[in-house]
């Protein structure tokens, strides 16, 4: 009896958690045609990953790696010249199981904020500067929560307490609040409808170091309490180490490595990941750190083959010709590099 029960628990743990977001072969390019000159910037070029229920999935990469384009595409918030060229973005709550890019505007209206919400970097640009905070809550959430009224107000006040904000902020204008308070309002606003999926784009980059840790802690507490999935995008590996369950590294519009966060820090495989982790300065560690030669690829004219090869210490002939694919290196650990035995086939 106990044996069977233990077996069932084992099986339950072994089964992978349900995916809430599934991105497959996603390609999003900026395309412009001016005076007969066609220009194409391949900002997201063949990205595949999934985010499971109740996890914090981190996405790291430097500027121009395509992080922002990727989240715009995932949220179906593209504007020309950004176009989705291929691949799909599926959400578990999207009925019909189709890609979000095929969803009708009525469907999008129904899921936005109710199922899918965002925490943006500059909270000032989320909160309307000429409306009181209460109005912002009404604008965003009342529609999904049965309209404004005493029950709605009580719900908002209760939710604000989770980010340790007093009900009085509802009567304030955004400029009357400090940066930390504003960002907490933005977090409360993004999570009030208990969405299934939250996208957080550099949520603490604009905040002071002392406030940052507190705000991150609140995001994590709320995520754990609601059991929603969080896609956390930031270039700061310290934030990823503190927050995420799994972490993907993006370079030149593609994912190069993905693993459980601890594995990625302990045993990075891709040369770029290895460099990023080895070059992190730490208090109490006097070992010299080195920078990486060269600069990030120009996505309008990416190098052939692996986009990292011009800067890679391990680059071989094959890296200059073929683009490595993400292959499984270990359980929950994928890497796109020929030199470390990934990338599909042998080097």
């Amino acid at each position: 009896m106990t044996g069977a029960a233990a077996l069932a628990i084992d099986a339950g743990q072994a089964a992978p958690a349900k995916a809430v977001l599934r991105v497959e072969g996603l390609k999003a390019y900026y395309r412009t045609r001016h005076f007969g000159v066609n220009r194409e910037v391949r900002a997201v070029d063949g990205v595949t990953f999934e985010v499971r229920a109740n996890e914090i999935y981190g996405l790291a990469g430097e500027s121009s790696a395509g992080k922002s384009t990727l989240i715009k595409t995932i949220a179906a918030a593209m504007r020309p010249p950004l176009e989705v060229v291929g691949g799909s973005v599926g959400f578990s709550f999207l009925t019909g199981g189709t890609s979000i890019h095929q969803a009708t505007s009525a469907q999008l209206l129904a899921i936005r904020w109710r199922n899918l919400s965002y925490i943006m970097q500059g909270s000032m640009s989320v909160l309307n500067p000429v409306r009181r905070v209460r109005r912002s809550f009404e604008d965003f959430a009342a529609r999904h929560m049965g309209g404004r009224g005493a029950a709605f107000e009580a719900g908002v006040v209760g939710h604000l307490a989770r980010v340790r904000l007093d009900a009085s902020v509802l009567d304030a204008y955004p400029h009357e609040l400090s940066g930390g308070m504003r960002q907490r309002v933005a977090i409360a606003l993004a999570t009030i409808c208990r969405p299934d999926f939250v996208i957080a784009d550099e949520p603490t980059t604009a905040l002071d170091v002392v406030v940052q840790k507190d705000v991150l802690g609140m995001i994590r507490d709320i995520q754990r309490e609601m059991g929603s999935s969080l896609l956390l995008v930031t270039h700061d590996l310290g934030v990823h180490a503190y927050m995420t369950d799994r972490l993907a590294i993006m370079y030149g519009g593609m994912l190069v490595e993905e693993a459980r966060t601890a594995d990625l820090f302990l045993a990075p495989q891709h040369p770029y990941t290895r460099h990023l982790i080895a070059s992190l300065p730490r208090i109490g560690d006097d070992a010299p750190r080195v920078g990486l030669a060269g600069s990030p690829p120009n996505l309008a004219a990416p190098p052939p083959g692996c986009r990292f090869h011009p800067r890679c210490p391990l680059a071989g002939d094959r890296c200059r010709r073929e683009t490595p694919a993400m292959t499984v290196h270990a359980p929950d650990h994928r890497v796109a590099c020929f030199a470390v035995g990934g990338g599909g086939g042998t080097a």
Binding site: S63, K213, D236, A241, S279, L280, D285, V290, G291
Partner: protein, 273 residues
């Protein structure tokens, strides 16, 4: 006994705003004092969060802002006595700035080398275009670039890291004794950040330039600083040898800052490829 390279004594800066009757005063920097010795180049780091007065202090050292109290002496001369173009030029030949965002520091409509040649002719020893080219190339090579690489290119054609290096090369053209760098790596990509930080070490060791490094990032501060000064609301809360201060901060605010640093705790030391 030579005069110190830079000496700040009881420096304060108060900003006033509001009307004549309801004038309010905000102390941005209050009673700050430190000295950098001549002939002993070092990296002196000023740490603090936004609003701590670190940028105001930098602007005063650069002579862009006059202190409302105390004095700043450079080689024994009071900055308040700088008058006229001639002494201003002499001053700028000794102290050079590097700013946070290199894309804002360069004119986007001018080619990069134009600005470098201008600096070489104004502050360097170049008397004609040919010499300006030579000294610009030499300065660029000191930061790991070269004139053929950046010549004729516009700021937007370079990456943030390259452009920040070009900004450092521009500062080097004046052959300064002191560089004031305000958050020089916060806009630079992670893979290039350490090469800029290492460059500061090279400037100190090989060219004998003292650097005032202003940052909110304690980890890079620990990595490069000789001495550190932690500021809060315009006041110095703790200062001293960087290793000692950061290993065991005494002031509650310094401890709070150190605790706020997010350190990956999976490894006791860095993973080496």
């Amino acid at each position: 006994m030579t005069a110190p390279l830079l000496e700040l004594t009881h420096v304060s800066k108060t900003f006033g705003f509001g009307g004549l009757l309801s004038r309010r005063r905000v102390p941005a920097v209050a009673d700050v004092g430190f000295a950098l010795q001549a002939g002993a180049p070092e990296i002196f780091t000023i740490v603090g969060q936004s609003g701590s007065g670190k940028t105001t202090l930098a602007r005063m050292i650069l002579g862009m802002e006059a202190p409302t109290g105390g004095s700043i002496h450079l080689h024994g001369k009071d900055l308040a006595h700088i008058r006229g173009t001639g002494s201003r030029k002499l001053f700028m030949g000794v102290v050079q700035p590097i700013f946070q965002n290199p894309f804002e520091a360069f004119n986007p409509l001018r080619q990069l080398d134009h600005y470098l040649f201008l600096t070489a002719r104004r502050f360097g020893d170049a008397s004609d275009q040919q010499r300006a080219r030579t000294s610009t190339d030499a300065a660029l090579r000191q930061v790991g670039l070269s004139l053929p690489e950046v010549g004729g290119r516009y700021p937007h054609e370079l990456s943030g890291g390259q452009l920040q290096r070009a900004a450092i090369a521009r500062a080097l053209l004046a052959k300064p004794k002191l560089i004031v760098a305000d958050e020089p790596v916060s806009m630079v990509d992670a893979s290039l950040r350490m090469s800029i930080v290492n460059l500061f070490k090279t400037l100190r060791d090989e060219l004998g330039i003292s650097i005032i490094y202003i940052t909110h990032d304690l980890a890079t501060a620990y990595y490069i600083s000789d001495r550190i000064m932690i500021m809060k609301e315009g006041k110095v809360v703790e200062s001293g040898d960087a290793r000692t201060v950061l290993a065991a901060p005494q002031h509650p605010y310094s401890r709070q800052l150190k605790d706020a640093v997010l350190v990956p705790r999976f490894t006791p030391h860095a993973a080496v490829p």
